[in-house]
Amino acid sequence: MGNVSLIDQLKGQKIHDLLEQGKRVDGRSFDEPRQLTIETGVIPKAEGSARVHLGDTEVVTGIKVQLDRPFPDRGDNGIFICTAEILPLAHPDAEPGPPGEDVIELARVVDRGIRETGMVDLTQLVLEKDKTVIGIFADTSIIDHAGNLFDACSYATTAALLSTKIPKWEMQDDVPVKVEGQESDAPITTIPVSITMGRIGEHIIVDPNADEWSCLDARITITTNSDGNICALQKGGKDGFTIEQLVKCGEISVSVGAKIREILKETKGTSQ
């Protein structure tokens, strides 16, 4: 990212001054995420989907389920692959083309959260060991970029997975055949929730908005599972954290994560 404009510098100063008074630029408390709304089933042609608004950030995840070959070293597991793309319409700085390092990191952090919590039991997605497995492809499109894509994409992917219906295939004469009209829920074991926190000076704020995001000293994304354990973590940004700050971020990710998990559960009444 290029040079910081004068307006950005002034904005950053304002944000900093407000934090010193215990306030945030949009009036939230330090550990309060922006309003989260989730709609599932928004793309009927996808096997699962969700549209998420996190404040002004908006993303859509679609899940496609199709047969594939397993990874050579994981022949008894189905496949789960996660991608993200910041669409050119999402931000004036976004350009079409191959993903840059920011987007690659984003998709890998979302993927890691879901993978490391063991959200989807991939052992239940095997048709024929080492040959044919069910693949779950979770692709997220960022439609409006207003800060903290990590959590928005993570919630959208999680909600879409919770709404996913897996078609039924049967092996007939060594060929997999789709059984029409039969489908089941995805094998979900837990609900991962990522919480991204930013540090500005000594202050830790949850879910930074676009203005806050541009003046973060450092950020961290921590994903917890339904048991309140920490399963994945990624630090980023130009500066570091003290160990006390890291421990505090861990605690925030568990407590705030529990609230977000309730919202995710509501999007699908039948989920655990």
Partner: protein
């Protein structure tokens, strides 16, 4: 096996608290760092960290190409972490993978707080990391070596960045997870740390930890970083003092 769950049939920790490669739970692998190993680079370092063999070259501060990336307020840092095709069991395609791009980014961000880039506006410091042989914890080894290479290049720094991982193996928090433990263990947490400023500049986690284990894991990794710091300092004193400052 559940997605993300790990195999547990390998004996990772025996009843005497000895790990699969014979180490104790708080013992790092063998680490050797040498500063100033390349002729052309402005600064360089070579590290052997367990079975990792990594060479790092640093160039700069120098002119930025392409020019539009230059920043009039500060210098910029670029970092390329790359694995040689022969560095792993199965040949790795030479083109940078998504994993390598992500690691390049986190290493760059781990070093940025230490490097006084604001003294060199409009310039770039390029860090090239080549993993000749990979073992578990290559990003930590690469970060530790990159830090020594930056110091070797004479670039002003606030602190060294040390690095070491901790993890969870057989329900126990252990220091410096090796490749087998990473594959079969329960969690892996690489950490980069500035020992004098007491700041964590790189932290990632794969695997499940309770909040208590999480705290212990960070503390264990920082303990490892402090060990690595001593080896980093030794690499620099060996080059600049033992041979009368030659080379």
């Amino acid at each position: 096996m559940i997605l993300g769950g790990r195999d547990t049939d390998l004996v990772l920790l025996d009843e005497n608290g000895i790990r699969c490669d014979g180490r104790k739970i708080d013992e790092p692998r063998k680490i050797m760092i040498k500063a100033g190993v390349l002729k052309n680079a402005d600064g360089s370092a070579y590290i052997e960290f367990g079975d990792n063999k990594i060479v790092v070259g640093v160039f700069g501060p120098r002119d930025v190409h392409p020019k539009h990336l230059a920043n009039t307020d500060t210098g910029i840092l670029r970092c390329r972490y790359h694995m040689s095709p022969f560095s792993v069991e199965e040949r790795k395609k030479p083109a940078p993978s998504r994993r390598e791009i992500e690691i390049s980014k986190v290493i760059k961000e781990a070093l940025k707080p230490a490097v006084m880039l604001e003294q060199f506006p409009r310039t770039v410091v390029d860090i090239f990391i080549e993993v000749l042989q990979a073992d578990g914890g290559s990003r930590c080894a690469a970060l530790a070596a990159a830090s020594v290479a930056l110091a070797d290049a004479g670039i002003p720094m606030r602190d060294m960045v040390s690095a070491c991982a901790a993890g969870k193996v057989a329900d126990t928090i252990v220091l410096d997870v090796n490749n087998e433990e990473d594959q079969a263990g329960q969690a892996d947490m690489p950490v980069g740390y500035m020992p004098n400023m007491e700041k964590i500049t790189l932290i990632q986690l794969d695997g499940v930890l309770t909040p208590e284990e999480y705290k212990k894991c960070v503390e264990t990794a920082i303990g490892g970083c402090k060990l690595v710091y001593e080896i980093q300092k030794k690499a620099l004193t060996d080059k600049y003092f033992s041979n009368g400052g030659n080379n």
